[in-house]
Symmetry: C2
Subunit: 471 residues, 2 copies
């Protein structure tokens, strides 16, 4: 355990843009009083007992990549860092095709372990925060990886889990599916530390066969036709691609510019064919699995895209994008140095509301002077998809924090009013908490609170309005 | 509303074997005092208000196909029959690929409506009780249909729902996926009427293209190799068949006998090739969807089965089985007339525990004199499958009920001790309730009870230990 200034400060905030701004001003409000690295489940049980008795706040801490103020400790107390001693794979079962892993294990170490076990496995979960996130964080924040269209979001991967709550230890059994009352493990997926400490998770694994993976890239004449092609592919019973992604026109143009593609002969040729800059959209596809399956899905997507006038541009743009897929987040700090605010927000939306939501949010973003607004779809379902917004805009000097928070509030309001969820995979934390009751309704919030009150009667778990819960 | 004897008696029991035995003796214990057919959600809200105030039991009632004493009314009160006025499709959204349907609609009417809407849709849910079950019952009891391997179990089909509880109305929003705290709709899937009245459900739908469906049937040398073939197909990333089914050797032999196949030239030929009666096993496969997908999945399964020495016997056995798939349950009553008890139990199990569980249960069943024990796997996942047991045995004369209940208890104990779930899709009801705490653990039961207490503080919803809950 540590109570030095550095440990406390480094456990006092995540990666929310507002937090980064405050950090630059040297502001750290209410850090935890103590950082504890528990060595065993018994440690955690004892810590929760003492804290519950004395009403001391406990905030579980993993890779610290939260962009929603999920790990902020407004009531101080204890930050329970699981990355030091809860970072092992407990069992791989190749017959069941499952892995049981401790919650504090980082993404790369976990995936590496799976890749190198036996004939090679993968968990298929590659969030943008992959390098700085843990299995427990994936589950607690209800994340999604870049291959989620094929492998599913984290809630589709988890089979069972173990959680230490102030009321007791809940360990659910591992079944492929069952009918013995309602499932309890889903209650902890998205619980964001408010109910207890997730210590281990049993998840599905899959054969790791990168040599079978096929890639395809396309250009569409406009966003609308790309979205229809994506939707109809998802609804045509052709199987699932693993990576499935469209960039909207502005994001597509920026991709073209940064890859020095603008003005090339191919660029001119595409413009002549009607794939005009400012309208055209990039689509990336990758499919994993059995060779015959991979070939069939790629071919079916090609056929479907043709109907929507897509131009096939080969495998390499998708491959290149995959190579640098984790790096764009690291641009945020250098841009701040230049006085540019940049942030991302994301939502889930049913297909029929997707274009209207996209238009409304773009309108909102573009109403701010000199704002760049890039949008993509990166997690796709039969019934809808996510929309992921990245914006860059000059900061208002000497009023950066308020400027940002006000702009952010208007953006979330616009998403909410246009039938988008508050989040598809970033989670709620404390940032989105003010919208929760409006979004879920009061009876749903009461049900969440009742569950919280049962498991955490003294309100010690990640307090401070996380998820809109009391305290 | 009705309070005549016939209405009360017909709402006092479901289709549990023990109930049927009692009915034959003219025993109906504690029928509901009143059967109400609510006309609107406002009706239900008012009924629950009055009943909650006066602590009158309310049991939601649908198709009445429960085999777990799920609709029995040990505390009398009101049976709330939703089949008369809550039987409409409210909206089909072909862009989102969803349907919103009232909970009292019967399977055939629902499927028929979908098949005939626009270009034709299906919900893909065909439980054995299809003809006598409702959408609300599917959700409340957490059912699975015969094409669940491809379309999913009911919990994979539901996107949102509306529930009227004694505490208030909960309506969840429809998103393809989201991350705004833990999902609340799963709490009502498998709630078996203990939390409130499900009034409407929004589900995924799919294109209905029976002309694309392909069928394949195989014979394996033994159960073990059939199970390995099934497991490896599910774990090889080839896509999913929709119907995927194996009969164990005893069920296979009975199928051969009842189809007058025994002793034919083909039978002799198969025996010569090593597919010996008493060991060999039937596998049925059907795949729906896009033509290219269907061809690829069937071909991949054929290739995989070859490695496990399966003999391909064409499409027609699977087709024939599908034609009579709902009828076997109707044999139970005629067999009772002949003094034969027959019942079914089912469980979910991880792959590594499947053969040991199958052996242990068969041993238990066969220890009873002259007992026929047929087993099949009919709902398959990457990580495990269900096992479905059908047994026929002479009843102990004049002690039929005790004889049956004792035999049933030993059977459930055997399943539980061999790592099977208490149910894969029949649910718990009151029959399996005594095993719930042992199966889930006390902390999980406390969490379920806390949820129940919040939504139904006076314990009026389907009382009598349903799901092992109080009261």
């Amino acid at each position: 355990m540590n109570d030095d200034d550095f440990s406390r400060a480094s456990h006092a905030h995540g990666k929310f843009y507002g937090e980064l701004l405050k950090l630059r001003k040297g502001e750290i409000q209410s850090p935890p009083d103590l950082v504890i690295y528990p060595r065993s489940e018994d440690d955690i049980i004892r810590i929760l007992e003492v804290c519950n008795k004395n009403k001391i706040a406990v905030t579980p801490f993993g890779g610290n990549s939260s962009v929603t103020r999920g790990v902020e400790t407004p009531k101080g107390g204890i930050s329970l860092d699981l990355t030091k001693h809860f970072n092992k794979v407990l069992e791989i079962n190749t017959i069941n095709s499952t892995v049981t892993v401790q919650s504090g294990m980082y993404g790369p170490a976990f995936e590496d372990y799976l890749n190198n076990f036996g004939e090679g496995f993968t968990c298929g979960h590659f969030p943008q925060s992959f390098e700085y996130s843990t299995v427990g964080g994936w589950v607690a924040a209800k994340g999604a990886g870049q291959a989620s269209t094929g492998y599913g979001k984290i809630e589709h991967m988890v089979l069972s889990l173990k959680v230490i709550t102030p009321s007791g230890v809940i360990e659910t059994k591992t079944y492929p599916a069952s009918a013995q009352g309602w499932d309890l493990y889903p209650i902890f997926i998205g619980s964001e530390g408010t109910l207890g400490v997730i210590t281990q998770v049993t998840m599905k694994i899959h054969k790791h066969r990168p040599e079978n993976t096929k890639y395809a890239s396309f250009i569409f004449k406009n966003f609308e036709s790309a979205v229809v092609a994506m939707r109809t592919a998802m609804q045509d019973g052709i199987g699932l691609p693993h990576l499935f992604r469209i960039s909207d026109p502005e994001e597509t143009e920026i991709a073209f510019k940064t890859k020095n593609f603008e003005g090339t002969l191919t660029d001119k040729f595409l413009n002549t064919l009607g794939y005009k800059s400012g309208n055209r959209c990039l689509m990336f596809v990758a499919v994993d699995g059995n060779k015959a399956y991979v070939n069939q899905v790629i071919k079916s997507i090609k056929n479907n895209n043709k109907k929507h006038k897509a131009f096939f541009i080969g495998a390499s743009p998708t491959k290149k994008w995959l190579e640098q897929r984790y790096s764009s987040a690291y641009l945020r700090d250098p841009l701040m140095d230049l006085g540019i605010m940049t942030d991302t927000l994301e939502t889930a939306v049913m297909w029929e509301n997707l274009i209207p939501l996209w238009s409304a949010v773009r309108k909102y973003l573009k109403a701010r002077e000199k704002t760049v607004a890039m949008v993509h779809i990166s997690h796709v379902y039969e019934n809808g998809a996510n929309l992921y917004f990245t914006f860059l805009s000059p900061m208002k000097k000497d009023d950066e924090i308020n400027d940002y928070l006000l702009f952010h509030k208007g953006l979330v309001d616009t998403i909410h009013e246009n039938k988008g969820s508050l989040s598809h995979h970033h989670g709620i934390g404390k940032t989105m908490a003010p919208w929760m009751e409006k979004e879920l309704g009061s009876e749903s919030m009461k049900l969440m609170q009742a569950i919280k009150n049962h498991l955490d009667p003294n309100g010690i778990m990640n307090p401070g309005n996380t998820l809109g819960l009391k305290p």
